[in-house]
Amino acid sequence: MNERHTLDAAFAALADPTRRAILARLAKGEATVNELTEPFEMTQPAISQHLKVLEDAGLVIRRVEGTRRPRRLAKNGIDAMDQWLARLRKALEKNYDRLDNVLAAMEAPRKENFNE
């Protein structure tokens, strides 16, 4: 998979709230399908299907431990979450930079009055 394709798959995977919640759970540590199914009002096959999408997107990986198949965040998954946080920070900073200008414009008329 090229980088663009991986990114598309990651964005598509993140578009679903259940998958975001699964990622959030895995951010706290690895978990099996059973453990992941518990907090959700969904069947195990439904959770497994979501996990498959996350795995295909390279966000989640599984390891084999006897009969267990614990899932954990892949490096891509961690990077994706970091990237979202960085973008969020940037969007908020952009808002507040614009607000600086709005505030300056609100102040301006008063200053003009003082000067004249």
């Binding site: 990114l7 598309d8 964005f11 598509a12 993140l14 578009a15 709230p17 975001r20 919640a21 990622l23 959030a24 759970r25 951010a27 706290k28 907090p39 994706a80 979450m81 979202w84 946080l85 973008r87 969020l88 920070r89 969007a91 908020l92 900073e93 952009k94 808002n95 507040y96 614009r98 607000l99 600086d100 200008n101 709005v102 505030l103 300056a104 609100m106 102040e107």
Partner: protein, 154 residues
């Protein structure tokens, strides 16, 4: 300086602080007057807010609608719970993408500080999982959701 901070607190909070070179009254007005909100609460380049309803009174409604030149859009609804001019606003908000996200309970304080205002916005999410999911997908305060919409539609 005007450096913004963004950090998590406990399991369910997110706290944003930012200093502004204007008095609390002006910053408060810029957060409640729809004509002013429309000028800055826009997120990434290319987005506008054609609809902005902000009834700054107890129980007053909030509705922000964003759109871009590609015709994509999403909206946020909420209600004002407490208003103390010009020092404090408490409101609840949710994004519609189009399914509503869990309620984000937001307290915004405006404190006079070294010739300007220190704004402290404290968000409270229903649980740790919702907060983590929100931060992970950058859905906080609505804006970042536009990225997600944009990217999933490309």
């Amino acid at each position: 300086m005007s450096k913004m901070t963004l950090k998590t607190e406990g399991d369910i909070h997110v706290v944003v602080t930012r200093h502004f070179a204007a008095p609390p009254e002006a910053v408060y007005r810029a957060h409640t007057d729809p004509k002013l909100i429309q000028k800055w609460l826009l997120g990434p380049e290319g987005w506008t807010m054609p609809v902005c309803i902000s009834e700054a009174k107890l129980g007053g409604k909030i509705r922000y609608e964003w759109s871009n030149e590609k015709g994509q859009g999403f909206f946020l609804t909420g209600e004002y719970l407490e208003l103390e001019p010009f020092s404090r606003i408490v409101h609840v908000e949710r994004m519609h993408l189009p399914d509503p996200t869990p309620d984000n309970h937001v307290e915004t304080r405006f404190d006079a500080d070294s010739g300007g205002t220190l704004m402290t916005m404290r968000m409270t999410l229903p649980d740790a999982q919702t907060r983590a999911a929100m931060l992970a997908t950058g859905m906080e305060h609505g804006m970042e959701a536009s990225y997600q919409r944009l990217e999933t539609m490309i």
